[in-house]
């Protein structure tokens, strides 16, 4: 972390140091006078309840410092944050633009390693509070991402249903298929639709194909989601699917997972999260 590259951090620390140093220095100066100096001066004629008053001149350091702050004020007023020229929104736009340009230049074509690193960073901040640092879902609080994308996870979805993705065809009810039927469809999906490799139950693939009609009603014969009417299962277990969830949100046990389509994450960051989440189950 480059704590000190940020001028706000820098100025805050300098300010904190200045508060202590200036106060200690000035008070020490007066304590010294208490020890060594003598109080002198011409007394005013009044006396209130025994309290007198000297007609001493202003301390010179105080007067100069007073003038100094006024000069600083003028500088702030005319040059630092010119009253008719400064806008905090303008400053913000510059900050964001500068950042975006830099980001695009640096990460225009990110390699795999960069994406994983970036995804991990976002995950820790945005996802880990509910899904846990390891992605295990903290005892059922949120989806267990260490199994997501696997055959077992597909079975789980078939048994429990899926809610909150907000596709036109609506929500997937729980328990469309049970037991071995669910396993069979999962096997078929792994091998033929999502093409995630070999199924753990290769002998069930054929049975799964015969049962696929249950799914095809919404997801389409080839599982592509019928042109955006339901999630494309071809993407299941791949980063693109995670990106889709990030954009759409998802209903979970403790509440709905928020959408990240409000500009808080850029497309590259979403893809990076997708890659990272995908890697958790592999």
């Amino acid at each position: 972390m480059n704590w000190l590259n940020d001028n706000v951090n820098m100025l805050a620390l300098l300010g904190a140091a200045a508060i202590i140093l200036i106060t200690v220095f000035v008070v020490a100066k007066y304590i010294k006078q208490m020890k060594e100096d003598k109080s002198t001066g011409e007394l005013a004629e009044e006396n209130w309840d025994g309290i007198g008053e000297y007609k001493n001149e202003l301390p010179i350091g105080w007067s100069l410092a007073f003038l100094g702050t006024i000069v600083w004020g003028l500088w702030y007023f005319l040059i630092g944050y010119p009253l008719n020229g400064y806008s905090q929104i303008g400053e913000y736009n510059e900050e964001v633009q500068k950042y975006n340009t830099k980001f695009e230049n640096k990460w225009a074509n990110p390699d795999e390693e960069t994406l994983m690193g970036m995804g991990e960073g976002v995950f820790f901040v945005q996802c880990a509070p509910c899904h846990g640092v390891t992605g295990d879902g903290i005892n059922g609080k949120a989806a267990d991402l260490t199994v997501w994308g696997s055959e077992a996870a597909i079975v789980d979805v078939i048994l429990k249903g899926s809610k909150g993705l907000n596709y036109p065809l609506g929500e997937m009810p729980a328990g469309l298929l049970q037991g071995d039927d669910a396993k069979a469809v999962a096997a078929y999906m792994v091998e033929k639709i999502a093409k995630l490799g070999k199924s753990k139950n290769p002998d069930l693939v054929a049975k799964g194909e015969s049962l696929w009609a249950v799914c095809a009603g919404c997801h389409g014969q080839n599982g592509d989601g019928m042109g955006g009417n339901s999630p494309s299962l071809k993407n299941y277990g791949k980063p693109e699917f995670v990106v889709d969830v990030l954009n759409r949100g998802k209903a979970g046990n403790i509440g709905v997972m928020p959408k990240f389509n409000d500009g808080r994450l850029s497309d590259i960051q979403k893809l990076a999260v997708g890659k990272y989440v995908n890697s958790l189950s592999q």
């Binding site: 905090q88 929104i89 913000y92 964001v96 403790i254 509440g255 409000d262 500009g263 808080r264």
Partner: protein
């Protein structure tokens, strides 16, 4: 000259008053009308949301949560678009807060939902491990004060011309109509909740505080 003032308490007091009064006039008045103008699309709160806002105030949520997103990238990345003056045009009082013991809530309606709030209010530390927010079980017991909320809405409509009952704006109507409307809005929220206590109360026509505050929080976008 000053010594003369110190012998004349009346003129002394007048002098002090002038010196302290002018700054307020110079800083507050010039942009007063400008700052009161709403951004297009900003609507006044419905009666149920207003009742929820009263719960928010009653339990001083604003002591720990801000509703002000400053224009820094680190804030807009975390909470969404920075705040605009006109978005607060119907906020009486303003609830910007001065301390973020918890996160900003200016746009919490964009990323938290009814069921999340329900679980979270019952036991924040279970939903967010390490959370130091208190539990609010009493919000599930206390009944929201719809009448006072209606009285406030009616007052701002009459006194400050807040555009209730205008086209595209929330309807206020009579107290009875407003109560029926609040009940309808409450039903939509309670449909997404699981507390049997809250559900049964609603059947009796009672809206619990938790329902009202969730309506308010969901409206923060």
């Amino acid at each position: 000259m000053f010594h003369w003032l110190e012998r004349n308490p009346f003129f002394f007091a007048v002098g002090v008053f002038i010196v302290i009064a002018y700054a307020g006039i110079v800083t507050i008045l010039p942009d007063f009308m400008n700052s009161a103008r709403p951004v297009v699309g900003t609507k006044p709160y419905t009666v149920l949301q207003l009742a929820g806002r009263h719960v928010y105030i009653k339990d001083s949520c604003n002591a720990c949560h801000s509703q002000l997103i400053r224009p820094f990238k680190s804030e807009t990345d975390r909470y969404g678009m920075y705040s605009l003056s006109g978005e607060y045009a119907y906020d009486r009082p303003f609830l910007w807060g001065s301390k973020r013991t918890g996160p900003d809530l200016m746009r919490v309606g964009n990323y938290r939902t009814t069921d999340w709030h329900e679980n979270h209010m019952l036991n924040p530390a279970e939903i967010v491990p390490g959370s130091i927010m208190p539990k609010y079980p009493h919000m599930f017991k206390n009944v929201a004060d719809i009448e006072t909320a209606y009285a406030e809405a009616l007052t701002v409509k009459k006194v400050f011309n807040v555009p209730y009952d205008k086209s595209g704006m929330p309807k206020l109507g009579t107290l009875e109509e407003a109560k029926a409307q609040a009940l309808k809005e409450a039903e939509e929220i309670v449909a997404n909740m699981k507390s049997p206590e809250v559900k049964e109360a609603l059947k009796r026509g009672e809206i619990k505080e938790i329902v009202a505050i969730i309506a308010y929080l969901n409206s923060l976008k």
